[in-house]
Amino acid sequence: MDVLLERLIAGTTDGAIYALIALSLVVVFRGTGTINFAQGEIALFTTFVAWSVVTRGMPIWVALLVATLCGFVIGVVVERVCVRPVAKRSDMAVLIVLLGLFTAFNSLDGLIWGGDTKVLPSLLPNGPDDYLAAGSARIYGDTAAVWIGTGVVLLLMIILFRFTRTGLHMRAVANNSEAAALAGVRVGRVLSFSWGLAGAIGSAAGVLITPLAPAQLSLLTMLTIFISACAAALLGGLDSLVGAVVAGLAIGLMEAFIIGYVPGLGDHLSETAVLTIIVIVLLVRPTGLFGTKKLERV
């Protein structure tokens, strides 16, 4: 099989998931101004929930819906109960709370579902013969599910932000939350909804990628994925929705090509490259590729 084509497909698939999780980070950052370090683990928790639903004999589509809904509720609760009360004090307090939640969710997963690896079925038929031929490469059901799922989420996001009142209010709060409140926007509700939305997007991403993840469904599934998604959010500029998608795809492709074209070391080198990107962005261009520079009149 053509390596280039095969890597292109793998890179776009991973990149799509990075884009989704980066998007969920950006949605929260635009509202609250914090990076939700617990995002990956919230997504893992709801992916485990999806697994539980599937093992009870429900179709994976239902499980996806349940996980997404669950992610929304967890997002809202985390914002309202864990983040908002400490946000008044300091950003550092929020950071510590989120890091705490990161460990808490992972431990909770272990407590409920145990440490052994589980298999989550793909959303589309994924047998050896269920593929579309693209030139010399084959696109299997699990890959197609990621692409279609990501496309649907992005479309819904565009509709939300461009054409709905809630989206307008979210953009207003992201732009200047005090001015938005003075104009009558219920900022608290917008923040809760943003965290809920982020939780839902992350959960959808988790269910979509798990069938393809090297770790399958285990306590480690989200770790490397989340680091790459963080790099994508940073590279994209943290407050740019478009940036998150573009950078997510870019990082997915970069990893795929390093793995494909660096013999032997590729796997490890791709992780190194992601971390290097994080460092470089923070050092050289903290606003990323698409982020807005904050110019404040004092």
Binding site: A172, N175, N176, E178, A183, G184, T292
Partner: protein, 248 residues
């Protein structure tokens, strides 16, 4: 006339120190009232305390009911603020800014009609409807901020130094627009200003704020005519309109 805004013994500040102490003032339904004061007198603090952006003690009643503690709730009660420095949503278009101003209202034809109405009242906003608010000039942003506040159909608009940083000719236009809106819509206004002359001409009643206290109050015409008041409290003459003030 009926009292719309009733403030008595209001105190507020940052941290332990009160910036405004025991301020009392009333705004009658339909009138324009003005609070004059120099830099640091507590004008912005006063308005922030009224809207709830800042914690306050004392009495603050709007139309006979206690004001709420969150700005977004007070907007729903009919009280809007045009903040100092205008507070336009720079990344949003002019039309979107106006729509955000109607957040407290039911969406629909009424809101769309109001967007059109204010775009016609301020033609410059109509011309720049789909431009980002950040690309507007200072005067245009001030008009946008006023129009956005009016989108909530408020009964009382608080304006925090609408003349700040604007050229004299633009300041005159802004005040002409405010008087016009007050006359045609019946919207009451409480304007805090350093630009005493123009503000007094637009207003019916006036207060002077000094170091957090109301040190004088009366009808705006009396203030304009009384040279002693002007020299004692305002330290201005008629040429000061729009003159550069400080380094902001």
């Amino acid at each position: 006339m009926r009292t719309l805004l009733h403030i008595a013994d209001l105190c507020a500040g940052y941290g332990a120190a009160d910036v405004i102490r025991s301020v009392s003032l009333d705004v009658a339904d339909g009138e324009i009232a003005v609070v004059l004061g120099a830099n640091g007198a507590g004008k912005t603090t006063l308005l922030r305390a009224i809207t709830g952006a800042l914690a306050r003690t004392g009495t603050a009643e709007f139309d006979g009911r206690p004001l709420r503690t969150r700005p977004e709730d007070n907007v729903r009660a009919g009280l809007s603020l045009v903040p100092q420095g205008r507070g336009t949503l720079t990344e949003l278009t002019v039309a979107e800014n106006l729509l955000v101003g109607a957040s407290a209202r039911k969406p629909g034809r009424g809101v769309d009609a109001d967007v059109t109405k204010w775009c016609e009242f301020f033609p410059v906003l109509g011309e720049r409807r789909d431009q980002k608010a950040g690309s507007l000039s200072g005067g245009e942003q001030q008009m946008l901020a006023i129009a956005r506040a009016l989108m909530a159909r408020p009964r009382l608009v608080l304006l925090d130094e609408p003349s700040l940083g604007l050229a004299p000719i633009i300041v005159q236009r802004v005040f002409a627009a405010l008087s016009d809106i007050n006359a045609t819509e019946g919207t009451s206004m409480l304007i805090v200003e350093q630009n005493a002359d123009l503000a007094l001409r637009a207003a019916t009643s006036a207060y002077v704020l000094e170091a957090g206290h109301v040190v004088a109050s009366g009808s705006a015409t009396d203030f304009l005519d009384d040279d002693r008041v002007r020299s004692a409290y305002l330290g201005t003459d008629s040429r000061s309109a729009g003159a550069p003030r400080g380094c902001r």
